[in-house]
């Protein structure tokens, strides 16, 4: 097991940004002395104290609203919403206030805040603690949306998010925290990673698999399996959904000519649909087969482990879809 976990990446980014800029502070439930439900802020209390860690009541609208208000007068708040499902209670502050501040004021005010949220499922967390809602936020002009899949990316992207002049929705998949230990403590130097720059985790020539968050790991496993069968997959992690590295994706498609998008969110209306539409509009000249999506089933996330695994786009389902796409694309509509 590595000594630099996803939780380390998040915690170190917060700590380093707090050191750099006194305007940076964190506000949310249990972020103070207790160190948070996932232990992500452990140790920060002793180091930075109460003025940088505002341990708030269970009031999501007030948490995000206070962060927006503080941002309007020079603060650099990070609002922590424990589970992304709970961001529904703060939607007015995110969508009607933060996202539109710069626009509605003709560029005269801005709301530079980060909303950190734990997303996705990690084993029987049930329908109200497991959703993948990132595509909802990509639909709102004015928001940026970040979805890292490695500890290094988490650290570098969170640093960029904190410095970004616009409101940033930052998703942390609980499957990338849990079962890997909390913060292990090793410090890894990571520079801020610019938004809109994808990362190729594995090079390949037959198909580009776009995936992010925890699903990127399933995509890697599927790529391993298929390599043994003679199918070469390129795994492309966009890392940020808004802005999106369409140039990087185009370059990959020029190499592979095939595109499959895999994410945990239900396929219907998921961000994969947006990527697929973009590819249809802009990459027809290099695509040699239809674009394909693998998503969560169009259901709430069930509790029973066997059902939960069934609805998620696990490695075997991604692998099967790639086989269909590469070997028999006319069958693909049945497998979405």
């Amino acid at each position: 097991m590595t000594n630099f976990t996803f939780a380390d990446g998040i915690r170190q980014a917060i700590a380093e940004e707090m050191e750099r800029d006194p305007a940076v502070f964190l506000i949310g439930e249990d972020v103070g002395e207790s160190g948070g439900v996932f232990g992500v802020t452990k140790g920060l209390w002793d180091r930075f104290g109460k003025d940088r860690l505002w341990d708030s009541p269970i009031s999501e609208e007030a948490i995000v609203g206070a962060a927006v208000g503080a941002a309007l007068v020079g603060g650099r708040p990070i609002a922590e919403i424990m589970f992304s499902d709970f961001s529904m209670l703060a939607m007015d502050m995110i969508v009607n206030q933060a996202a539109k501040t710069h626009y509605m004021t003709g560029g005269r005010l801005s709301a530079p805040l980060v909303v950190r949220m734990v997303t996705g499922t990690n084993g029987s967390t049930g329908a109200q603690h497991s959703q993948s809602l990132e595509s909802w936020f990509t639909h709102v002009p004015g928001l940026k949306v970040v979805a890292p899949s490695t500890p290094e990316d988490a650290k570098g992207l969170l640093k960029s998010a904190i410095r970004d002049p616009d409101p940033v929705m930052f998703f942390e998949h609980k499957g990338l925290y849990v079962g890997r230990g909390g913060p292990a403590g090793e410090v890894v130097e990571v520079d801020p990673i610019p938004f809109g720059s994808g990362r190729i985790h594995r090079e390949g020539t037959d198909v580009t698999v776009v995936s992010y968050l925890k699903t990127r790991e399933y995509a890697m496993a599927a790529a391993e399996t298929l390599a043994e069968e003679g199918v070469s997959c390129e795994v492309f992690d966009p890392r940020t959904l808004v802005p999106f590295d369409y140039e990087g994706l185009r370059a990959s498609l020029e190499k592979t000519g095939r595109l499959l998008i895999a994410h945990e969110a239900p396929a219907r209306g998921g961000f994969g649909a947006e990527i697929a539409a973009w590819a249809a509009e802009n990459c027809h000249d290099v695509l040699r087969s239809p674009v394909m999506r693998v998503g969560g089933q169009n259901t709430p996330v069930p509790y029973a482990p066997v059902m939960e695994k069934f609805v998620l786009p696990m490695a075997d389902r991604i692998a099967e879809s790639i086989r269909t796409l590469v070997l028999n694309p006319s069958r693909q509509l049945q497998s979405l």
Binding site: A70, V73, P141
Partner: protein, 341 residues
């Protein structure tokens, strides 16, 4: 209704000079005439969007603003023209914004519901009922973090006091002793619905005790009474004693929006409140307590009208935005001047 609210004239008036009194009158008269002219300009086709007039409520905006410092910040609601004018905003740029011109306060991207003047610390009207309340709470948090003596004010109505944002924000502000003034303009109606049909309590201010902060009822048509209560609350906030909920009882002379005939209100109620128009009450105080003459008041009125004539002329000559200006300001970051795909 308002029988219990009497005008504490002599005592309150004793604290101000005639010039200060005339300035309060000027601001209230400016707000009234700004809106009356806006209504006509809208009918004449100059204003494409909604207007929610605050006529009748001017004493709240002006009384609170008179108790503030330059470094204080404010958030407002959909009925916000008085709040921003009370803070000293430029009517010309407001008209330009209402006319959707590129030199308006929001470059033509906001209109009445989103009007701001960042230089005055006016962080915006708001199109969402209760939406400005958490924002002021958060601004107060940042001001407290900076060890500033500045405070935040948020204006909202009786209707907004039923929103979750109000309750969560009052709890948070009281818990952390934030320097914020929650100013409820209770005009007795949430949109078309009477207060007695939308809440059980008689006083919004009574909700303060549930969160452990002072809640004060004041005659919202008495500008000096409002100023006094706001100044006391501001002193408390600046000395680290936390927030106050101020409920100013007032009345909307017009409907919820320009064009709403407000037939849901009893005639007798409207007539009674019209007699308590702050622009009738305050000139009496100015004459009786501070020795103002009719000529003094006329001079103020004429100056306001002359200034508004010029402001409206200026605004009418301002350039319209280009259609593609719509693509700017989605993000602070520039993406070649385009909205992100």
């Amino acid at each position: 209704m308002t029988d219990s609210l009497t005008r504490p004239t002599a005592q309150a008036a004793a604290g101000i000079t005639l010039d200060e009194g005339l300035e309060l009158f000027r601001l209230m008269f400016l707000i009234r005439r700004f809106e009356e002219r806006a209504a006509r300009l809208r009918a004449a086709g100059f204003i494409p969007g909604f207007l929610h007039p605050c006529s009748g409520q001017e004493a709240v905006a002006v009384g609170v603003a008179a108790a503030l410092r330059k470094d204080d910040v404010l958030t407002s609601n959909h009925r916000g023209h008085g709040h921003i004018l009370g803070r000293g905003a430029d009517p010309a740029r407001m008209y330009a914004e209402l006319f959707a011109r590129s030199t308006g306060y929001n470059a033509g991207k906001g209109g009445s519901l989103h009007m701001i003047d960042a230089d005055l610390g006016f962080l915006g009207a708001n199109g969402i009922v209760g939406g400005g309340i958490p924002l002021a709470t958060g601004a107060a948090l940042q001001l407290k973090r900076l060890n500033s003596q500045a405070l935040a004010v948020t204006y909202f109505g009786d209707g907004a006091s039923n929103e979750g944002a109000f309750h969560e924000s009052l709890n948070l502000a009281a818990l952390w002793q934030l320097p914020v003034l929650f100013v409820c303009e209770n005009n007795l109606y949430g949109e078309f619905t009477r207060q007695s049909e939308h809440m059980v309590l008689d006083n919004v201010a009574d909700r303060a005790s549930a969160y452990g902060m002072p809640g004060i009822v004041v005659d919202g048509n008495d500008v000096l009474a409002v100023k006094k209560v706001a100044a006391e609350a501001a002193d408390r906030a600046r000395s680290g004693m936390g927030p106050t909920l101020i409920e100013a009882k007032t009345y909307r002379h017009k409907g919820h929006f320009e064009g709403d005939m407000a037939r849901y209100r009893p005639k007798e109620e409207v007539e009674a409140w019209m007699k308590r128009d702050p622009l009738i009450l305050f000139p009496e105080v100015l004459r009786d307590e501070l020795g103002a003459t009719d000529a003094d008041l006329d001079r103020v009125r004429e100056a306001v009208e002359a200034k508004l004539d010029l402001d409206i002329e200026w605004a009418k000559e301002q350039p319209h935005p280009l259609p593609e200006d719509a693509l700017e300001h989605v993000y602070v970051d520039s993406y070649n001047g385009k909205a992100l795909r």
